[in-house]
């Protein structure tokens, strides 16, 4: 019988690192201040 070695079920990752999160947060705040904020595109 074939045995599974690796199994991924519905695996998603939004951001790789805390730094990436901080960068996104700062970018969003600055764009809000500058009135350039745009909502992220919807995923279908």
């Amino acid at each position: 019988m074939i045995q599974e070695s690796i199994r991924l079920d519905g695996v998603s990752l939004w951001r790789r690192t805390q730094e990436e999160f901080s960068y996104d947060l700062k970018k969003t705040i600055f764009s809000l201040f500058n009135g350039q904020y745009r909502q992220p595109a919807k995923k279908w």
Binding site: Q3, E4, R7, L8, G10, S12
Partner: protein, 216 residues
Amino acid sequence: MVIDNIDLTINCGEKVGIIGANGSGKSTMLKLISGILQPTTGTVRVKGAIAPLIELGAGFDTELTVIDNIILYGVMLGYSQLEMRSRAKDILEFAELETYASIPVKGLSSGMTARLGFAIATDVTPNILILDEVLSVGDISFKNKCSQRMKDFWQDDVTILLVSHSMDMICENCHKVIWMEQGRIKMIGQTQDVINQYLECVDPTGMSSSLPQVNQ
């Protein structure tokens, strides 16, 4: 999203190649499988000991000597210190670093570090071996040695995940390929089929050299 809703099953003993453009999520997926990163949603299940060679020098303490790193790496994979000491000679010999045993890893070149990582990870015969472009820095003679060792693994029940931009290497070592694009699996299937589709997509003019045949 870096990785977007991936469902994937890899069976014991499968040799799987992962291809795709830079930033497509290949290395990130391997980090999720290795437990280096935790997924935001979904589950990752892995059976057996993993030896990940994901980034050059990852897992090494660069301040420690080569021999200490060999022991440390082996212990992290579940081997005893005594066993690793007995294996150290073979590892150093394979990596061609016998004379560097007592030198800190930070003193090694990138090629030497890759050789050391490969030598340790493949000497301890893990259940799952993850190779992420680590062999690209090695010289030709070491690449040949690695290919030979990979062929030995081919006979065993070791699961291998190999990320490479070298289609030759993927063709020689894998019987299944995953093509990743923008954090998703674009295609999964037989090596030659996936590579043909991939090359057709990235190189529609057919400028790249002809593909080697899969030798399985």
